[in-house]
Symmetry: D3
Subunit: 312 residues, 6 copies
Amino acid sequence: MSFRYLSPGPQRVFKDRFTTKVDEKKQWFEQGRTGEIGLLGLPYSKSSISVSQASEAPQSIRRALGFYTTYSLEKDHDFTDVTMLDFGDAGVHPTDLERTTKQLQESVKEMLDAEACSRYILLGGDHGVSFPSISAFHERMGRVGVLQWDAHHDVRNTKDGGRTNGTPFRSLLESGALKGEDLVQIGIRDYSNAKEYGDYCARQGVTVYTMADVEAGDITSIVKKEIQRLKQQVDVIYLSVDMDVVDQAFAPGCPAIGPGGLTSRELLLSVQAASCDPIVKAMDIVEVDPSKDFRDMTSRLAAHVMMRYMFQ
Amino acid sequence: MSFRYLSPGPQRVFKDRFTTKVDEKKQWFEQGRTGEIGLLGLPYSKSSISVSQASEAPQSIRRALGFYTTYSLEKDHDFTDVTMLDFGDAGVHPTDLERTTKQLQESVKEMLDAEACSRYILLGGDHGVSFPSISAFHERMGRVGVLQWDAHHDVRNTKDGGRTNGTPFRSLLESGALKGEDLVQIGIRDYSNAKEYGDYCARQGVTVYTMADVEAGDITSIVKKEIQRLKQQVDVIYLSVDMDVVDQAFAPGCPAIGPGGLTSRELLLSVQAASCDPIVKAMDIVEVDPSKDFRDMTSRLAAHVMMRYMFQ
Amino acid sequence: MSFRYLSPGPQRVFKDRFTTKVDEKKQWFEQGRTGEIGLLGLPYSKSSISVSQASEAPQSIRRALGFYTTYSLEKDHDFTDVTMLDFGDAGVHPTDLERTTKQLQESVKEMLDAEACSRYILLGGDHGVSFPSISAFHERMGRVGVLQWDAHHDVRNTKDGGRTNGTPFRSLLESGALKGEDLVQIGIRDYSNAKEYGDYCARQGVTVYTMADVEAGDITSIVKKEIQRLKQQVDVIYLSVDMDVVDQAFAPGCPAIGPGGLTSRELLLSVQAASCDPIVKAMDIVEVDPSKDFRDMTSRLAAHVMMRYMFQ
Amino acid sequence: MSFRYLSPGPQRVFKDRFTTKVDEKKQWFEQGRTGEIGLLGLPYSKSSISVSQASEAPQSIRRALGFYTTYSLEKDHDFTDVTMLDFGDAGVHPTDLERTTKQLQESVKEMLDAEACSRYILLGGDHGVSFPSISAFHERMGRVGVLQWDAHHDVRNTKDGGRTNGTPFRSLLESGALKGEDLVQIGIRDYSNAKEYGDYCARQGVTVYTMADVEAGDITSIVKKEIQRLKQQVDVIYLSVDMDVVDQAFAPGCPAIGPGGLTSRELLLSVQAASCDPIVKAMDIVEVDPSKDFRDMTSRLAAHVMMRYMFQ
Amino acid sequence: MSFRYLSPGPQRVFKDRFTTKVDEKKQWFEQGRTGEIGLLGLPYSKSSISVSQASEAPQSIRRALGFYTTYSLEKDHDFTDVTMLDFGDAGVHPTDLERTTKQLQESVKEMLDAEACSRYILLGGDHGVSFPSISAFHERMGRVGVLQWDAHHDVRNTKDGGRTNGTPFRSLLESGALKGEDLVQIGIRDYSNAKEYGDYCARQGVTVYTMADVEAGDITSIVKKEIQRLKQQVDVIYLSVDMDVVDQAFAPGCPAIGPGGLTSRELLLSVQAASCDPIVKAMDIVEVDPSKDFRDMTSRLAAHVMMRYMFQ
Amino acid sequence: MSFRYLSPGPQRVFKDRFTTKVDEKKQWFEQGRTGEIGLLGLPYSKSSISVSQASEAPQSIRRALGFYTTYSLEKDHDFTDVTMLDFGDAGVHPTDLERTTKQLQESVKEMLDAEACSRYILLGGDHGVSFPSISAFHERMGRVGVLQWDAHHDVRNTKDGGRTNGTPFRSLLESGALKGEDLVQIGIRDYSNAKEYGDYCARQGVTVYTMADVEAGDITSIVKKEIQRLKQQVDVIYLSVDMDVVDQAFAPGCPAIGPGGLTSRELLLSVQAASCDPIVKAMDIVEVDPSKDFRDMTSRLAAHVMMRYMFQ
């Protein structure tokens, strides 16, 4: 007996025969499968200083992929040839946060060890996940350069609260997984950081672009210039996109929203400009809290950032 | 190579080794599988008189099953022995509504023809789905008795707008799939219906209990009495639960909310009282619009109604 | 030329030929028209102690009438014979609040002077409107008895803030428009009033029923008993329904919400019990703030209260 | 007897003697009346692929007119001389969607046949309404040129779901009501369309401007250039404004919101630039769903677009 | 120089000279001060299984005290003689959760050691705080009896996630701080617990009342009976009020909301009944998440519970 | 006895030893204290034409200061040397609005008379507060120049509604506290004002920049030019920032939101440009209604505006 009308399984959605949704090009990883992009969720935000539900973002951003198609008219190409392998979400522990950090790092390494993909996307989680994630890339791929879109330096001291979402780049610089000269911060905002941490970045040789730099120049040129510089000295470049670099009007679902940031178009264009160089092998997107958002706007923007990275 | 930390697949949730969530007892139907309860979504609400997103309820109610466990302390039993076979959601068409109605009826019949379950749950959708659903049960199981929890008679004329969510019982009575003497309406509310339709029910021999009847008596006794009466005359009893029978305070996500209805406890107790007789073979739950709800309260209540029906 | 498809005018809604919506029985007052119920909006809440948008309630409650029909199955009667004459909303001034109070009182008197209706409904606004409204009834109809559903005494002193929504019954008792022995308060809640005002009511001979009295007895009996008592001594009875007498779960849109109040069913039944005596000539409904509500629940309840009063 | 204080009728609002609100210049059409602008609501969104309440937009946009005045300081003119005749909302059917499409087309033709106005505004509804609306203009006015502000091509095949909000321009091109060379699409967004439909537009000779074109140039110049081109070949130009061309930050109430679109200023300036040529006789505004909006922002923007079109 | 109009300091609120708000009777503890009630916030919810912002509840419940007065008409007493000493909020650590638990316990002990009050209120936080809090009472006051209002047993195993908000009574029973025979659970709900934990409670000699017990009897009598039993065997009684014992309609802001629970009136009356015995020395209120609430309803209910406990 | 763990007092927040939050530099004024910036709340919005809760903004903007630090990377300076003296909120009366206006003016004068600060910030309230505030500056400091960021002229006649939030600059010009040639309006929007009031401004010699002027030029240059002009003729310059000058996407919490306004970056840059001249001694920020906002976005923007003014 076979069904004519029934089709047991997940929710049915309207299907246009000519349209390929981005999530149709995503498969769960299985041994032997390969794909262009490896995707891993790092659903971890309990160590945020304020209460954060950014741990829900891997799910909401994946859902938002269903709003998009694979076709770029501007590039005149249908990226149905780019497939994603989804490694699922790394496991976390309800109360042992140090153990969770270790599990995240091991999870990223296991994904890299599978050697199934050529580029990677990591979905946070709060910005704390960039510490284990970049550490794993460093362990497996050598010297890592990082372009960090962010309103904040994220180099707080770890004495006052342990490893939080304010400390990932401090931890990376201090552990040696990242050199100051290999870190570029874009979109840093006034009155959102402490002087000690601005000075710390300067002492470490971090390159910092403020919003005034963005206003004065052209963010796309900044990004291209820094990619060219970094590729002289590193083995791989990792983009770390803290969505709070964007003005609160365009990304209302970040925990630490504020005015005076990037527009959505500035973010999309600059990520696209960075991603076209093959040395860029990884990107994380962090600090999206779906519970604070309006109509998943911030997850939709995050998913659009993914396309700008994936489809070159 | 196998993973120690990774486990590609859907979202991970916290697992307590001793707890069985209700949705863990649900499987997608496959040929050869059997189970106590057959579940089918009827995600259809475009024919609602007002714009309704009740078509999203099958998904939200299924998700709400994850909030509940299989264990009843009051009955001192863990219903891990009751399994659900999920036949998925019936297919609908974006613009051809008559075709959709036929597909819904065929879908229910296909589920019954599979003979894989002994009892069934249908998740609307708006109340319009009860017409194809009960018609299908009539075709396959003979004379059907219906207990309808509802603030409204739902016997509007079909001339003014075709088959809408206000007409299912009119359509059933006129098509012969249901006799007036086999229909019991509970919770009918003043100032929410037209006199012509109250009179129509009387002419058809429908048994009607108003909210004043509920206030005066005991809804559990009413339900038990009517089950006893119906089982003398019908082959099978079908419960049709329009969630707007409940006061708006307890079911804020129904399209047609209003005050003066049942409490959540009255609904749960009366459905439980009805469901303990084995002649009750089916239940539908309709008129939950997740887009209008607060914190999925109405889907949570609907899921709790499912447990009261399933776990006897 | 005449149109076959077009029909310029306000929004079209679905019309079932057998259904009479309550708002279809409402007409704007014009000279010469008469009707059972006179309706007047008193959109005044700037003198509320907290910021209140209760001034929007006359519009939202009128709209909510469109959710209801004229038919009571419990009374087996279709009240299409009860018509409402709508006198619109009284004018208010943006910054001169004393002038507004006078205008409200004159507006009510003008409506009464029209002698077009036999009973009246006044829609606040905050509870401050009951002072000019009851004063007007006193001027035109003689000795007034008042049944007040309320969590609060509303007899604050006027020295600390002038005439606010906390002072109407103080103003009425002091102006002589109302005698203490003619005032009955139902549903007064603990920890929501000052001792001085409880004592003031006692000194004035006001009859007070607390929530404990409601729990202990039967609110319908209380109401009937007090109507019988009052009608021995007054010329007319006026019901004043402050919606915050209702538990916050059932009336989430009142400015001063709180737990431990009446259920929606207790309110509807008690208003219905009070309204069946012909000496009851007026009712106001106050303290509904649509901007704070969820899905107009509180306006829906208020409109349902209107039906329980109108349809005897 | 006449009233001094009462004035039965719709809600009173504060009136400044020197201010003319835009909605004060709007009258319901009656035989014999003429006006500059004819206004018609097309409250139709049941054929949207996703559930849409865009059918409520004609009401919410009309209400938003009350937020605006007739005065432009930039043009140094008070447009109290421009009057609107409102033909109300076209009738729709709850369940017969094909019949509704025909009724919409007939309604637009009836409005044009009245010959009471020189320019027209149509308020959707979803984008599906542009098919009957532009068809009617084609029937009555000859060759029509269309400027379409949109993130999407809206030329889906009609086999997969019938005529939906994704198909209007396909239907127009195939029915011959519109030639490809007469259609200009502005603001088309990457990853929001299928390749087949981009190719279809190319084959049909449609002129397409992407967001990259907008970034690179000046949207006002694009619009002016295309108006000049079209006026060589068509009898009348029709502007079709799908509000989802705007970035989600500025139009949060569109069903298909997304990042990377126009700013509100780009939309207002480009519509103003297009509207100054007298060959532009009509504009529709579609895809505003008030139930999804925040503080009616999207309806406010739509109403502002109306002013930029009306007041030349 | 002194000010006539200015008064630098926190927000001014309207003051009625005869009204005492409950929060006016609250002072920060200082050495030497004494008061009837000691108040301490335990703002800790990072160990909740789901993300919880219950850590904000101590602030929102304190603010809600400002909605209430000290006067009970039912008891005919103005409780201005009952003062609260507020010990502030215990300190927590962003990432070291075990350390936080210890700090909470030490904080409660320090408050008790101050010997400044005769009764205590602890404001969670999630239910996890009851473990350190009751442990502290046990250390300082001897054998503790506990009345727990709760939908859940909260005796999960600690192996699957460490000490979470699902484990406090397991931890207490295993550490010896509480004996099973001294624990009474009221309002336990079907399909919300695991069989293993129901059995565990039975094995430990815990007394359990389900919602069916509440329906069948009278919750006030249940509470009084159990207080009488416990006082034979313990030194002090501690009330632990998990607000999710209440139906979701009345407490919409609990993390784990659901239908079929207590009404607000049942909760208030039963806490009042329990609190009148002088052996009751402490109460905690937990699982209120202000970020999920509607209009602070759940915090308002929590504050009302405080009054029922404080004012005897 | 001293506490090791307890610290009675207001809510504890996470403290990073190197970070100075802006609100840490704020103290309540006391006799003898001096500081750079004097801060005063003017919590007054009852005279708004529409119901407004802008009276809550002084509290919400103060709270938003806690989101910001004192450090500017762009200026390479940590403004820990700039202290704020907070004079609290001026007292208002619930029903006597004229009296309130006088109290506001006296309050500002008392603050100035204290001679404790060199520059001032006034937090409204609605725009009506600028009348008493600027009047006070005029009385104490002589000829005042005003830069007004606003979508509206705010020079309505006072006959139609008394002194409302639409009249402050009319009142100032007519009372002689401000000369037309000393008033500059920036960001005035089309279709948001009446011709009479545009003409009135022209007759009074007010300098007006529309949004078209902003689009055409550079708002920073406009501001600098006008500061230079004004300082030739006035004793002191006062900035009056009506937040509705900003596009609704960036300031969703203003009562009179609309599209086509400034971006957040345009506002921040232009206020910063204005504030660097020492003749600028005061700024007010008005028309933020926290009850209408999304995630306090508009209060966050207002607080950021404060920093741009304070930190030079």
